[in-house]
């Protein structure tokens, strides 16, 4: 009989992985390549509105979308929350605010981090600007985060 004691429970580290690589295709790949080059691209829908980040299809009509257009690198916060204790996997390395940001020239907001001192510096409607990472590889974290406009 094994005694019912936690000291008898064998323990081993377990790392969950997704050990596949994927090609990102012309739309997602186009956006990520743009980030590497320091540009932000959005996807133009049939009704003329622009989604950023770009989807490969229109979420309402399901039409395929292939036209990418360059949009602005500053935008407006539409909602936010304060992430006071960065979680270990997050790429920001410091306390930050999560925010949905509608970039100039886009009609839909994207999720990213905003670097400010604390939640008192955040508000819906505030203007923020992209802060690029020095070394970029075609990844959403090529944008290090956003900073209040005028503080870049």
């Amino acid at each position: 009989m094994v005694e019912d004691s936690t000291s008898d429970v064998l323990r081993a580290p377990l790392t969950l992985e997704y050990p596949f690589t994927r090609t990102t295709g012309p739309v997602v790949g186009g956006f990520l390549t743009g980030l590497r080059e320091g540009m932000v691209l959005g996807a133009k829908r049939a009704d003329g509105t622009v989604m950023c980040p770009p989807l490969e299809y229109d979420p309402i009509t399901s039409d395929a979308i292939t036209e990418l257009v360059e949009i602005g690198q500053s935008g407006t916060v539409t909602t936010w929350t304060w992430n006071g204790e960065p979680r270990k996997q997050q790429p920001f390395g410091q306390p930050f605010a999560w925010a949905m940001i509608t970039l100039d020239g886009a009609d839909t907001p994207m999720l990213h981090g905003v670097f400010v001192e604390g939640p008192d510096d955040m508000s819906t409607g505030m203007r923020v600007t992209v802060q690029w990472r020095e070394e970029r590889e075609g990844h959403i974290a090529d944008i290090a985060g956003f900073v209040p406009e005028g503080q870049e």
């Binding site: 429970v9 980040p53 929350t81 996997q89 997050q90 839909t108 994207m110 999720l111 959403i140 974290a141």
Partner: protein
């Protein structure tokens, strides 16, 4: 359409189930629910389950649980990597085809082994969102602020939802968050993820639920007052947060209409609403009024077992109908960030 009803259910939820594997704690539920109405696996025409390898930390983890169902001689079974409520939906469709009269459905997870709020980041868009690892509380907080700033809800109303859920949970032996808190107490809580407070977030639990569906006369033989499924439908919103209006739930509204929620009065509703904000979205989307008792079990603010909470909502609603506490109920299940996907089930007693 065939008449199909919930005739029995059994659940277990605890803050943390230590020293028992998912299989070990599910076997007593899977067999207990059959024994409670005097049937065996040989009477079951279809077995269907819902669980998650990402939470179990193991590929094909559900296969070992199927082994616990007594699958010899071979049984007809299926699994969804979703809440058990979608396993129930698959079984309901199979029963509509007329070849099965009794189905066993179960859903479960043991999320206490990891950090569920972080594991849930893996369900986000893999290119644009998941690499940033927004945890589940942060994602809901973004919607909560929009709901508050647009005037859709107030912090006071959210506190009322949380306080009432605790009050109801106190009468539920399976609830894990039963300490009573007044609206004023909750208003005084410090945010865990601004504007969400500790009482606004789900009461995480380990556990599972097993449930039996039966058709027509078989249901009447097995249960004195079966809870008949009068309507069931599920819909999904877009995956990308930025293209959705996070202050409404289009998928819940459409599923509610298709399931016929508004066709008659609703005595009570068991809503899969992990956050207080989710409950406000759902009551609005389903058009539930003040004459409907919301979450008499305490809901997922009383106990939230990922992959089973939706099935448990159906089980709770059905049990109340069987007990004669009401005649018509709505149960919902949800999945994805900000209630991206919603299943709505209307249950009635005769």
């Amino acid at each position: 359409m065939r008449d199909i009803a919930v005739v029995a259910s059994m659940q277990r939820q605890e803050p943390s189930i230590d020293n028992e594997s998912e299989v070990e704690y599910m076997v007593p539920l899977m067999h207990g629910v059959k024994e409670s109405i005097g049937i065996t696996q040989a009477d079951v025409g279809f077995t269907c389950s819902g669980s998650s390898d990402f939470i179990a930390g193991q590929a094909f983890s559900f296969v070992m649980t199927v082994d616990g169902a007594n699958p010899v001689p071979p049984i007809s079974e299926s699994h969804v990597e979703m809440d058990g409520a979608w396993a129930l939906y698959e079984a309901w469709v199979k029963m509509q085809m007329g070849e099965v009269d009794i189905a066993l459905i179960y859903g479960y997870s043991k999320s206490s082994g990891g950090s569920l709020r972080d594991v849930l980041a893996t369900q986000m868009d893999p290119y644009y969102v998941a690499p940033l690892w927004p945890d589940a509380f942060a994602i809901e907080a973004l919607a909560a602020r929009q709901m508050i700033e647009s005037g859709k809800v107030s912090l006071e109303r959210l506190a009322e939802v949380a306080s009432r859920s605790r009050e109801h949970a106190a009468n539920n032996p399976h609830a894990v968050r039963t300490a009573q808190k007044s609206v004023a107490d909750i208003m005084a809580e410090s945010p865990i993820m601004d504007p969400l407070r500790p009482s606004d977030i789900p009461a995480s639990a380990d556990g599972g639920c097993a449930l039996i569906l039966a058709a027509g006369d078989r249901a009447k033989e097995l249960c004195e007052r079966p809870a008949w499924i009068k309507g069931i439908d599920h819909r999904t919103d877009a995956h990308t947060l930025g293209v959705r209006d996070l202050t409404t739930s289009m998928s819940a509204r459409i599923a509610g209409e298709k399931a016929g929620v508004g066709n008659d009065k609703v005595d009570f509703a068991e809503l899969y609403a992990p956050f207080t904000t989710s409950e406000v979205l759902l009551t609005d989307a389903l058009g539930l009024g003040d004459d409907t008792v919301i979450n008499p079990s305490g809901g997922t603010l009383g106990a939230h077992t990922m992959m089973a909470s939706g099935l448990i909502r159906i089980a709770e609603a059905a049990q109340r109908i069987t007990n004669g506490d009401g005649d018509r109920a709505v149960a919902t299940a949800g999945s994805g960030p900000n209630l991206q996907q919603n299943l709505v089930c209307v249950l009635e007693g005769e």
